[in-house]
């Protein structure tokens, strides 16, 4: 088991190192940062001055190692736009994004899994078909379109503006974007939990449990659901990992003051330090979420422990 944990940790470390290196490479490819910092009509000397100040005149591997050293120290550079550290800009926006993402995940999990369970237990009849039709609609619907539709319906039908109130985060304000963001994953949770539960229900041990006299509800909640939940954990892990990156479009549509909005703006203004940190943060959450899922498997599935 320690071997299992160590190899997973090693894998996570390698993935992080690769991401950090790829970010370094891509930013070097995307143009000369010194030229980007200087005003458009700046003379060559000014650009050279910036390049020297940023260490861009040194060989690539020296740049790479000092970049790694800075990351280890927790120094992710400063936003050229506002002059603040990219980390503090990110942290300012993080609560709003987590609030929105967490809320939408909650909706997706409760609604999706309940729908999936209902569909599995009513296999083949109208309830099942209805749920499946809804889930196809849900993940086929692009969220920018659905978001706009929500705003439109709110405005025309209820005379309420749902498009966001700028910087404020509120219970009422989070619902429209959370619904929009959660719709697609509700669909996939419904589908996934349905097929997983159907597969489990047809396993021999549930027939055996019936023969042992275990009542139906107990079979469902104590035997079928825990087993069916095992593959769902992977999906939940992916959702958690995508918590920061997933809401870029929705935040734009609803003017939600989160990380996604910051990312879009930083890209537009070529604020390299901020973009770089957000990309690293997104990759980092994905890696950590996957690691958590791996360890969670150790707890919920005894079969993995023996390896």
């Amino acid at each position: 088991m320690t071997g299992f944990i160590l190899s997973k940790l090693l894998r996570a470390f390698i993935t992080l190192l690769l991401t950090v290196s790829l970010v370094f490479i891509f930013i070097r490819f995307s143009g000369d940062p010194a030229a980007a910092m200087a005003p458009p009509d700046a003379p060559q000397e000014v650009i050279d001055y910036y390049a020297e100040k940023l260490g861009l005149d040194k060989p690539l591997w020296v740049q790479y190692t000092s970049y790694l050293a800075q990351i280890v120290k927790g120094d992710f550079g400063y936003s050229v736009d506002s002059g603040r550290s990219s980390v503090s800009l990110f942290l300012d926006r993080l609560p709003a994004t987590l609030y929105l993402g967490g809320f939408s995940l909650l909706i997706a999990l409760t609604v999706g899994i309940s729908l999936g369970t209902v569909a599995a237990l009513n296999r083949g009849n109208f309830l099942d078909r209805g749920v499946m039709a809804f889930s196809v609609f849900a993940f086929a619907m692009p969220n920018f379109l659905f978001g706009l539709a929500v705003i439109l319906i709110g405005a025309l039908g209820f005379q309420t503006y749902l498009g966001g109130q700028g910087a404020s985060i509120s219970w009422v304000g989070v619902l429209p974007p959370a619904l929009t963001l959660g719709l697609a994953s509700t669909g996939s949770y419904a589908r996934f939990s349905r097929s997983s539960l159907l597969e489990t229900i047809n396993k021999p041990f549930l027939l055996a449990a019936e023969a042992r006299g275990i009542p139906r509800t107990r079979r469902l909640f104590f035997h079928a659901m825990p087993n069916a939940a095992i593959p769902l954990v992977t999906l939940i892990g992916l959702s958690l990992g995508g918590l920061i990156a997933g809401s870029v479009v929705t935040e734009q549509v609803f003017a939600w003051p989160g990380v996604g909005q910051l990312l879009v703006r930083s890209v537009a203004t070529r604020d390299i330090a901020t973009v770089q940190f957000i990309v690293l943060a997104i990759a980092g959450t994905m890696v950590v979420a996957n690691l958590l899922v791996d360890f969670l498997y150790l707890i919920i599935d005894p079969r993995i422990r023996v390896q």
Binding site: F4, S7, F205, A211, G213, R218, R303
Partner: protein, 535 residues
Amino acid sequence: MKNTNAAILELSNVGIGLPLGADRQWAVRDISLTILPQQTLCLVGESGSGKSVIAQAIMGILPAALPLKEGTIKLLGKSIPKQRSPSFNLLRSVKMGMVFQDAVASLNPIKKVGHQLEEILLVHGISRKERKPRVLKMLSAVLLPNPESAYRSYPHEMSGGQAQRIVIAGALLLNPSLLVADEPTTALDVTTQAEILELITKLKVEFNTSVLFITHDFGVVSEIGDQIAVMKDGKILEQGSVKNVLKNPQNEYTQRLLKAANLDTSKKKLKETEEILKADNISLTYKKGFFFNQTKFKAVQKVSLSLTAGSTLAVVGESGSGKSSLAKCLLRLENTNAGKIYYRGKDIADLKGAHLRNFRSKVQVVLQDPFGALDPRFKIIDAIAEGPIIHGSSWDEANSRAIEMLSLVGLTPQSAERYPQEFSGGQRQRICIARALIMRPEVLIADEAVSALDVSIQVKILDLFEDLQKRLGFAMVFITHDLHVAAAISDSVIVMKDGQVVESGPTSSVFKNPQAKYTKMLLSSAPGYQGGEAL
């Protein structure tokens, strides 16, 4: 028990329907059976004969697609309702316990077995204090060496035999009047099978229960049964006491099944001819995991064997004995860690390019699972003709030879254009054999090639192997766990255990006069086999 002579279970004229569009209208019909106190009734038949459907009807776990349409089932004199009824099922589970073929699969994989057994007591309202001691007592009754540790185990941590003991413990926990066992030993090794049969016999007396034992194996029937009912296509063909039916079967089908179950080595003699395949002290070690959790597993250890042209060598052993790993080495699908394998005097490890391709075409394999071995998207003719085409024959020639092969293995040329799903297990195995033999191999390796088949089909496929061998003259390595099969087909035999050869020699002498302790044990565990005499 008020009246000791009253039937525990009585089925009269039971008929269970099949859904529309099935190959017959009734799953089973006109089934009348009686089980008396402390008696074991064996229900015998091949797969598809309807045995398990009867068990499910008795236990009240018939799928909705198979309704109980006719007749009555009486348990301890009371009629069982025809519809699925949750409240009655709770009651029913007190009176009857069921044991399934795949014990590990009939336990919840993520809960400790002790808790799963306690749950049975819980749903029948037994207090928390009483539960654990009762479960532990039951676990020692099924002769698990360490009940406390078994209680804390998960299903996957147990062997098939141990898991079957757990399931039996669960079935008998409420001291039922009837134990329904559906092929409980089919998935087990012979030695484990013998232990489980002994256990069931012991518990039957201890717990004063009757047993309905479903099996396809007459050896098992002769060990455990009092009464027997033989089934085919949903009907009972013959029933009576085990003694009478086995000694003097009336029905032609019963006679055929019994003949198929015989351990017959009479026709086998070793021919002295040219050596074609030889293994010299080969070993194979698997490494599992990587970096931190690497473990080594010695699958094959210093095995030597020799195969002469046109002869058959049986490799016998229980699961995990390294038989299939040996086959992979002989086919060069795995590279050995030590020792050498010679094909016609050449070390196969050195084969490259055209020589390796030639070796691949001359040494062919037939696998156990005829369902997994054929690509469901390939027509039969394409599956068979694929080999020759890859090895350079023209499309037309390959196809016409594929048709020839089909008739050689006893299938009609019309089957060429159909897909594997349209064939039964036995027919698919014929297709696999055709696919192997179209390469005109000198060696055919059959890895448990008849294990997944019913006995009467087994006999047909074994006959086919022998017939084709006579006509085409290839040598065979026949891997099996079944001593009947080994006896029927081989000239010489090697017995394997834990990756090593424990005994080898001509088949007749090894089976008539085994030297190694393990071989003796295997032979004495084979159901229905006593002191060299079949059944």
